[in-house]
């Protein structure tokens, strides 16, 4: 058993592009759920539109990557408006159902064979993200590696994660600046009691819509990073569990805190990869009974996701506020 490899892999996942994408998804969700109380179960839909907007613009229409990114973000805004207009006045549960359904419908449409000409359909779409990598300042020869042991990235990967984490920092800063203001106070008041906010003259629908758009665009940015990272998009990458991973990250880190979604995303990927690597190493051990080894081998990924879920359950039991949350606030829910 080589713990250097296990920790190396875990750290690599915790700081890699996947964690950046999850962090952006969770920050957006924090604006929706954490601060405004909107139960958005379709966050993956925003990532999907960010990724496909970028990919299809470049691959199908031959536009520049930068235009593609803009298209991805505009589509995210459009989804927020389309979701919000009919449902934000309804009960919170209605909104939740519509969001999860809408995201899944979009994924199925985009992945259908009828859409092959536009989105690649069930085949993934791929494009040349050269415009992004041309700006890469990291030497990227075949032997250039950054990091130690298995905690190691190529020059291209370094460029993606550098841009990604800078983006996460900037987005977090913007969210901090707008939420600590009187505007953010109105959001939180809507989360606590819409009617109280109304009785004091706040246009609840308008604030919810603003929050939905902002959080959606942040999710869309996550999709853009995803598209650039893989130079394309695949409908299977946008299944509903992406939303639930984002919720897990948010709750791990602490909802309605500024650093929570970022720390949660890092921790989520660290744990997931740590457990998976550990199981891989375990199955390779000679002393393990064959039956157990057979059971484990090949399902390390699934088991690690289950273990992350278990961690979340334990966390809810013993530290429901997440890592950074405030215990007293959580206890108020029970009153």
């Amino acid at each position: 058993m080589d713990f250097d490899i296990i920790f190396g892999n875990a750290a690599r996942a915790a700081f890699g592009p996947e964690a950046v994408i999850l962090a952006l998804a969770a920050i957006g969700l924090n604006v929706h759920f954490g601060f405004t109380g909107l139960l958005n179960f379709g966050q993956v839909g925003f990532l999907l539109l960010g990724a496909y907007g970028t990919s299809v613009s470049v691959a199908t229409f031959g536009w520049s990557l930068w235009v593609g990114i803009l298209v991805g973000l505009v589509l995210s805004v459009a989804l927020a408006v389309a979701l919000g207009f009919p449902t934000l006045r309804l009960h919170a549960v209605m909104f939740a159902i519509v969001t999860i359904a809408a995201a899944e419908i979009i994924r199925i449409l985009i992945g259908s064979t009828d859409a092959i000409g536009l989105t690649g359909g069930p085949l993934s779409v791929s494009f040349d993200a050269g415009a992004f990598y041309d700006l890469n300042p990291y030497p990227d020869g075949p032997h250039d590696r950054y990091g130690v042991g298995t905690f190691e990235f190529t020059g291209q990967q370094m460029w993606v994660i550098t841009v990604g984490w800078v983006l996460v920092a900037l987005v977090s800063l913007v969210v901090f600046l707008i939420v600590r203001s009187p505007w953010g106070r109105v959001l939180k008041s809507i989360r606590e009691d819409e009617d109280a906010a109304r009785s004091l003259g706040k246009n609840v629908f308008s604030y919810k819509m603003q929050a939905l758009i902002i959080g959606g665009v942040i999710g869309g940015l996550g999709g853009v990073i995803d598209a650039i990272k893989t130079s394309g998009a695949d409908p299977n990458g946008f299944r509903p569990q992406v939303t639930f991973f984002a919720y897990t990250a948010l709750l791990l880190g602490g909802a309605a805190t500024y650093m929570g979604p970022v720390l949660g995303a890092i921790l989520f990927w660290f744990l997931r990869e740590w457990i998976e690597s550990f199981l891989r190493q375990l199955t390779a051990e000679a002393w393990l009974p064959d039956a157990v080894a057979d059971f484990l081998s090949g399902s390390e990924g699934v088991i690690s996701v289950a273990m992350v879920g278990l961690t979340l359950v334990l966390l809810m039991l013993f530290r429901p506020q997440g890592i950074t949350g405030n215990r007293i606030e959580m206890q108020l829910d029970a009153r």
């Binding site: 913007v174 009187p182 505007w183 106070r185 109105v186 989360r191 606590e192 004091l200 108020l332």
Partner: protein, 297 residues
Amino acid sequence: MPDELTPVPGEARAGTESGLVGAQIEPNHSVPPVAGAPKPHPILVVDELTRSFGGLRAVDVDHLEVERGVVTALIGPNGAGKTTLFNLLTGFDRADTGRWSFDGQPVSSPSPDQLARQGMIRTFQLTKSLAKLTVLDNVLLGAPGQAGERLSAAPFRSRWRDQEEANVELADELLDRFNLAHMRDELAGTLSGGQRKLLEVARALMADPVMIMLDEPMAGVNPALAQSLMRHITQLAFEGLTVVFIEHAMDVVTGISDWVVVLAQGRVIAEGPPWKVIHDHQVIDAYLGRRRAGGGS
């Protein structure tokens, strides 16, 4: 029914613009104590307002006027429709029929936030404190016209800091008066029931209302403090604020109200100065649950 006394809505507007409204009005001397009586300077005029829940007619008001700048108590037995009437007037519930005007403006499509911005501020019988906001933030939320509540200004503290500081000063004064200063930085969810009532009234006053509608504001508040707060509210009425409050305790009603409106089974069955209304046998019957026997005061 005093149909012949129904005023034209234009009168309300005349009252609005006559300057020194409020201070010199003593409706108990000039207005006949009959249900639906017209007032010299009504801020609120309600006509033919009804609301049914299934077969139950919760509100059925033919005509009601509320005088500007005075303290009006809305009383009536449990289930009389007092809260429902508040909900209708403030846009939190939809009327089946009826129309009303507020501050000279006919209310055509009642929306709670818009009416609140026009100065009609209400509190709730079941308090709605914002549990995970601090007590101070609860009150600050009431402040009207805060530029920082617009997204375009929110990230730039310099655009709203001065206003916020002035609001904090005002909020601290209110919290002090409502015996909540020591809880200022605690989360509102940690307050007791009575303290939440107080917080809600403070928050409503922070909104700088033209007319404040309080639904049993002092229920659960210790009597001494309740007395002092109601005196504060009468003082505000003297300065021009219109107060309508729902209350069951008769000593509070007689102590601070200028005018009393009695609701029973959704209808206005009597109104008048408090000393007169509480001896009205129709009112007494309504409270004791007897069917209305006919005849007046």
